[in-house]
Assembly symmetry: C2
Homo-oligomer: 446 residues x 2
């Protein structure tokens, strides 16, 4: 019986955990710097909290947890005999694994609103579960890293979150393009084109511009029933890359002007950035609940040619977080980092710092049994001095112990025999260079 793990889930080796934590730690550091506070919610939520929040497809992709005990005892035996999964489900399962961090956040805000100070800035870095068909880069269990502020419609937060995106990626050594748009601009575009009711159809089509080109967008618009005059109007927008040039096109739309004004205020506030921050009228973001500014971050392929990886972070403003749970009207804005994709990009570009994979500093090897007690004493002194250190627990052949040091990625090896025990002078080998030096305890911890 060979053990295995469920499809779409992963084990992580120590160096992988450390690299993942390196990314999470950088993101978390900046969340703290910007005053976002950590919250935690249970992995299991009531299905009544989760169901109906992600569309029909989402409901199907929820992992449901079976009720405990005699779970079939109270189920309808006729429905059971008929093998009617849909009818039986609510009778045998009342909990599920969270599907994202947003719905639990909305539930949390409603339940704890009296304990929270608004504007409430929270972050969460935690796994979520989706019963997608597993494929390369898509897992059933994966991490989300979200920061949101709710209870304010100040555009300063849009500017702040753009800065935060910029700083995190600068800190990771990754050059990115941050693209901004505003849903109100897209609404204005639909209005100007005479298709106010078709904003989603139009934005879905123009969102594909970089994939299918202008002719492709035109074809898709036609298939979606947008008339020729409207298509001509829309085409005017496609080539526009500055807010200043899109403004005249939207002069006659109140909502469009509002979107332009908001975005202009955000650009005016941001200040200097490391990343390219660009207006992109074709940026739509799939999620229906966005109502204002929207963001999307991609690797800057001018700086990192050859990287093919879509969006690695994104977000936007929404008018109402908690309405689904009967909460009071709470507008908010949030961003989310795609940590799994960022990991793949940093690995491909070899951008992980050397010390992100291992934090052991010294490994001590003893040449004979008699030196082991000294080795244990010394490793204790190193640890007390704040150094991460380890001791091979027996006197084995040097070759075997050096192989262990290699496998452990120990940066420095200290070899201890009777001479060293007597003199208190240790030969320290730097594994990367092969360099040897003789040091006393004070040198080792100095």
């Amino acid at each position: 019986m060979k053990p295995s793990i469920p499809k779409g889930t992963r084990d992580f080796l120590p160096h992988e955990v450390r690299r993942r934590n390196y990314i999470f730690d950088v993101i978390r550091k900046h969340f703290h710097r910007y005053g976002y506070q950590p919250i935690e919610t249970p992995v299991m939520e009531n299905l009544s909290t989760l169901t109906g929040k992600y569309g029909e497809e989402g409901d199907r992709l929820l992992f449901k947890v079976l009720n405990n005990g005699d779970f079939l005892g109270k189920a309808d035996s006729q429905q059971l005999a008929a093998q009617d999964s849909d009818a039986v489900l609510p009778q045998i399962s009342k909990r599920g694994l969270r599907y994202d961090l947003t719905v639990p956040f909305a539930r949390y805000v409603v339940m704890h609103q009296n304990d929270l100070a608004f504007p409430f800035k929270r972050y969460a870095i935690a796994p979520v579960w989706r019963a997608d068909r597993p494929q390369k880069g898509r897992y059933n269990e994966f991490y989300q890293c979200d920061a949101d502020v709710v209870g304010s419609d100040s555009l300063l937060y849009e500017a702040e979150l753009t800065q935060l995106l910029d700083w995190v990626f600068a800190d990771l050594g990754l050059r990115v393009v941050i693209r901004l748009n505003n849903r109100k601009i897209l609404a204005g575009l639909a209005e100007i084109a005479g298709h106010q009711d078709r904003m989603m159809d139009i934005t879905i089509a123009i969102d594909k511009l970089d994939k299918i080109g202008e002719a492709g967008v035109e074809k898709e618009l036609r298939e979606r029933g947008v008339d020729a005059a409207a298509i001509d109007t829309i085409k005017q927008f496609l080539g526009v890359t500055s807010l200043g040039k899109v403004a005249p096109l939207l002069e006659k739309s109140a909502i469009g002007r509002e979107g332009i004004g908001e975005l202009q205020a955000v650009f005016d506030t941001i200040g200097a950035t490391t990343s390219r921050v660009e207006f992109d009228v074709t940026l739509a973001r799939g999620l229906n609940y966005y109502t204002g500014c929207i963001y999307e971050v991609a690797v800057d392929t001018d700086s990192h040619p050859g990287i093919q990886m879509g969006s690695i972070a994104g977000g936007g403003r929404y008018a109402d977080l908690t309405g689904i749970f009967g909460g009071r009207d709470l507008p908010g804005v949030g961003i989310s980092f795609g940590a799994e994709r960022i990991y793949d990009v940093l690995e491909e570009l070899q951008l992980f710092p050397a010390d992100a994979s291992e934090d052991l500093e010294y490994l001590l090897l003893c040449l004979d049994e008699a030196s082991l007690a000294h080795g244990f004493e010394l490793v204790g002194q190193l640890r007390r001095a704040g150094r991460n250190a380890d001791l091979y627990p027996a006197a084995a052949k040097l070759g075997k112990m050096m192989k262990y040091a290699d496998q452990r990625n120990a940066p420095k090896v200290i070899i201890i025999g009777s001479e060293e025990v007597k003199s208190g002078k240790y030969s320290v080998k730097t594994m990367a260079t092969g360099e040897q030096a003789t040091q006393s305890l004070s040198g080792l911890i100095g």
Copy 2:
């Protein structure tokens, strides 16, 4: 419809998350210092991995995850109609939530043995799930913090883990008693008493000494069918508090002598400690799989009177980690911290450092709209200088903003009006003392 969370699960407010992370961070720091490496395993495991590993009771307490899609489609319709939960279960569920971190670790070692260097030192700090009836201090979702080393029977690891326990609690400011025993001493005791086959009965009884007293232990032994002569022999052990005094009693038992020798070696190796480290012949630890040294840590009630909290950490040596999965014979030793209980104790004793609950340093409040742009600029400069800082996003009444600063637990508040914008000198209020000082940007970040 008021939202809720499943019974036995918890939401955590920001200051609670920070305090929990403070504990995890201290434990993690020492794990790293001692060369333990992080691994991660999925929250969901195959039920074939989990089932049968925790006894019948454990199998019942596993949370099982329903198969996706038409889960009843392939189940036996007669068994369904008969509402036979046990028979149907394996047909509709193949995954479950992990019940502890040990079985997933054993599974991991078997699957990745070719990628690991032995002795392999790993730690994991992660939630586990048990469908226990929720009660005060017992949750369905809770954290475990485990460190284990497998692939070595060196007693240096027993000494190292005792040190590690000592250091973690010293770092947390909690005085503890670390009690040590050895299963071989208990086996020797059973042998000397002529009840080699009844070691579990005997140890379960004497483990209760501090709860039910000597008379209670005697009664329990009698009820478990231990004869009077054996009870007299066992009673000789109960008052013994030193290894030196128990040794003569075990002279005739080979396994008993072995246990004494091992424990003596551990005591000889440990060195100076902050905690009281004591031999306790009545310490048994419930888990059957321990075979050598065992540990248990409790709050030192001499230093912290009135704390009633049982074991807050424990562990021991086992002969074979991976046998259950057909792995090769891998002896190991490990410890586990009861983080949830440690939290309760630190809170009761007010031992959390002040900065464990909040890491915001400055909150900026603007008195008028015109100052907001300056406030945004200043908060950005503070953040760039590495300070955790935040800005109230509008010019509201000072009283309202100060209330927000209180709720956010901001240690320092910077108030910005037209004067400050002009002069670049800011009035900084320390919230705890009410003290005010005037500082320029360089003073704020200096």
